[in-house]
């Protein structure tokens, strides 16, 4: 018996089943296909404008910051303003994201732009989130050439752009949208759900921001929901 067969056989002996019972197989197949939702908190079930307000409050409660931009053309100014406020050099890195590639970065003045994955030497990165969850102030980012995963973790400051209409009520809605984008049962290499900047409380339970990931998380919500 291979280790796999041995483990499956022990599980089946413990459960008193053979693994071939049709009702059991049907129950599992049904659950995987129907994906029952369970308990979805009321908290996020709000009209669009209030949902953005809740998202903002929850990000701020997790020590992140949020600004609104009326239109994608305002993203460069919002980014430059934040970098100036933080006394950071006007330099960013982003991937091949169509939204970020299409904005007029020259409006931000002398902004140095690098592209692609980070090797660890960048102070600030800009990503475009796949979505966000109002319930907990959580950003959802997916890996790929558009928004490389290293940008989410290596730079000191992470600036995340999210479209207002992608800010949804709850996790279940984001999961359904992931399925819509990547197909049922399929996922990108990485889905990062990010709630606030990196932190640790491992030394005497003193909470300190900026453990191994970004010290600051700044969110730009673009457009109207």
């Amino acid at each position: 018996m291979t280790p796999r067969e041995l483990i499956l056989a022990t599980i089946r002996r413990s459960l008193g089943v053979t693994g071939t019972e049709a009702p059991r197989r049907l129950e599992v197949a049904t659950r995987l296909a129907s994906r029952p939702k369970g308990v979805v908190p009321e908290r996020g079930q709000l009209p669009p404008a209030e949902r953005i307000d809740l998202f903002t409050r929850m990000v701020e409660a997790a020590a992140g910051t949020v600004v609104r931009a009326a239109d994608p053309v305002d993203i460069p100014t919002a980014v430059a303003t934040f970098l100036r406020e933080q006394n950071l050099p006007l330099a960013i890195r982003y991937g091949d994201d169509p939204l970020l590639s299409g904005v007029p970065w020259d409006r931000a003045g002398t902004l140095e732009i690098r592209r692609g994955a980070s090797g660890g030497s960048d102070l600030a990165a800009v990503s475009h989130a796949f979505g966000a969850v109002a319930e907990t102030g959580t950003l959802v980012l997916v890996s790929g050439a558009d928004n490389p995963t290293t940008l989410n973790f290596l730079p000191d400051v992470h600036i995340v752009v999210v479209s207002a209409r992608d800010v949804v009520s709850d996790f279940e809605t984001v999961m359904a949208r992931l399925r819509g984008r990547f197909g049922a049962g399929a996922m990108p290499r990485t889905v990062n759900m990010i709630t606030g900047p990196s932190r640790s409380a491992d030394i005497e339970q003193t909470l300190i921001l900026g453990a191994h990931g970004p010290r600051k998380l700044h969110v730009i919500v673009v457009g109207e929901p």
């Binding site: 041995l6 090797g119 932190r199």
Partner: protein, 492 residues
């Protein structure tokens, strides 16, 4: 069952461990943080979410359903991992898992391995094993990094270095980071964290293989999920050539919707956060167009006795999502900390799980280290009946004649009387009267024959009247005549 590597099991010495812990002033100071902060934070976020109790039921039901169909969900999960370019390895024992991991590392010519926090890696003694085979393992979670420098085991499942003071950590950093200036300031926790960040950043970038645990495995998509606050797990699994996930079988959940339910109770129960900072789903290796991520993705599924646990009285323990709420609310843990438990899993969850994994003969003291106050079960996000299972272990310990001779003798002495109610009533009445007379002047005893185990640590109060049973009888008789409040309060 696996041999647990270089970290010796000291669970059989729980009593000595506990005594030493109680006398350790800096440990006692550190434990105050746990008792006050963790419990208060959990209460606050739990109260803020209307549906928290309903979510706990939901979380329990999801885990129960998954465990009852674990063979089928494992097959579904494996199929999705493979379909997306990953590899699944099955390990019956800890040794099997170690051999599989070493083999993957050797094929890649790995010399250094970064590690995200993993209790299963502690369970199988992965670090010592890798080091013994010429591969340097580097813990990257701040707490795990600190205890690795000290060659210790975690004292808490989510706050591994909670037993240490910042001065102790400063001492360790100065001892190990000898390439840094001697006169640097490391007084504040912020400067300690900044130094760890800088030192570990180089390690992240240089590592050949990254090993993480998994909080959950999702059957629907073949994803592994890690939940962290620091971001170390993500750097561990993104930067090296290969990502190895080491996870035990019971981490499985069916769907992304089920995952959402469990995530809602995990962080709230663990750290009192609405969500941990980073919840990351990893599925397969990097895709052809991806500019970053690992080239290889391996999942090592560890059984190590869990498939057998599904059969017995301890199946419910496999619902555990390792949040640490039980230890955060445990008066015994608050008093002695994690190391006293003598192995990887501590607190009430450790008291139930450890005997299953290393045997009740070695871990017999742990299920006895409980006052049965029930707080662990009250806060458990998946409603594991921890006190009931500790009681089940005590029964087994007794049945297998593993309890100490004095305990067994005492119990048979007591049971002789307990089985003879008339004699019991007479003997206790005589004893109560005699002790009442003897202790009349001082009202307490500082020494009693055959009870020195009690009186060594506290006084024994002298009985003030008749026995409980006599008083109860009298109360029942009087309350049946006239309904008036008795000195013992209202009848049940």
């Amino acid at each position: 069952m696996t041999d647990v590597g270089a970290h010796a099991v000291t669970s059989p010495h729980f009593k000595d461990n506990a005594k030493a812990a109680l006398a350790d002033a800096s440990l006692q100071n550190a434990l105050k943080f746990v008792e006050v902060n963790f419990a208060a934070r959990r209460r606050e976020v739990a109260d803020k979410l209307l549906e928290f109790e309903a979510l706990r039921d939901s979380a329990r039901d999801i885990k129960d359903h998954t465990l009852a169909h674990l063979d089928l969900y494992l097959e579904a999960y494996e199929q999705r991992v493979v379909a997306q370019g990953g590899h699944v390895h099955y390990a019956v024992t800890g040794e099997d898992a170690l051999a599989i991991i070493l083999d993957i590392c050797r094929k890649l010519g790995a010399r250094t391995v970064t590690k995200g926090k993993s209790m299963v890696a502690e369970e199988i003694g992965l670090n010592d094993f890798l080091a013994a085979h010429g591969i340097a393992p580097i813990e990257t979670d701040l707490g795990e990094y600190i205890i690795q420098l000290r060659h210790e085991m975690p004292s808490h499942i989510i706050a591994p270095a909670v037993h240490l003071t910042k001065a102790q950590i400063e001492g360790d950093f100065r001892r190990v980071h000898t390439h840094l200036p001697r006169n640097r300031n490391l007084v504040e926790p912020t400067s300690l964290l900044a130094e760890a960040r800088m030192v570990l950043r180089e390690k992240f970038l240089a590592a050949d293989v990254g090993i993480t645990g998994a909080n959950f495995l999702v059957a629907e998509t073949g994803s592994s999920v890690i939940v962290t606050n620091e971001g170390n797990g993500d750097l561990t699994q993104t930067l090296p050539k290969a990502h190895i996930v080491l996870a035990s079988l019971e981490k499985l959940v069916p769907t992304l919707e089920d995952l959402s339910q469990l995530l809602r109770v995990l962080a709230r129960s663990a750290t009192g956060q609405e969500m941990s900072v980073y919840t990351t789903l990893s599925t397969g290796p990097r895709r052809p167009d991806d500019p970053d991520g690992p080239d290889e993705y391996h999942v090592v599924l560890l059984d190590n006795g869990r498939s057998s646990m599904l059969a017995g009285a301890f199946r419910d323990m496999l619902r555990c999502i390792r949040c640490g709420a039980c230890m955060n609310h445990c008066p015994i843990y608050h008093a002695v900390g994690g190391h006293a438990y003598g192995w990887v899993y501590v607190g009430p969850m450790g008291a139930v799980l450890t005997p299953s994994l290393i045997g009740i003969d070695k871990a017999g003291h742990l299920p006895n280290a409980s006052t049965f106050c029930g707080r662990c079960e009250e806060v458990c996000p998946v409603r594991i009946p921890l006190p009931r299972m500790m009681r089940a272990w005590r029964e087994r310990e007794f049945e297998r004649h593993l309890s100490p001779a004095t305990v067994r003798a005492g119990l048979s002495f007591w049971s002789f009387f307990a089985k003879r109610p008339r004699l019991y009533g007479l003997a206790t009445a005589v004893a109560a009267r005699a002790l009442g007379v003897a202790g009349r002047t001082r009202g307490r005893f500082s020494w009693l024959p055959l009870a020195s185990g009690w009186t060594r640590h506290r006084h024994f109060p002298a009985p003030q009247g008749t026995t409980f049973q006599a008083e109860w009888k009298r109360r029942l008789a009087s309350s049946s005549k006239v309904a008036q409040p008795s000195p013992l309060g209202p009848p049940p």
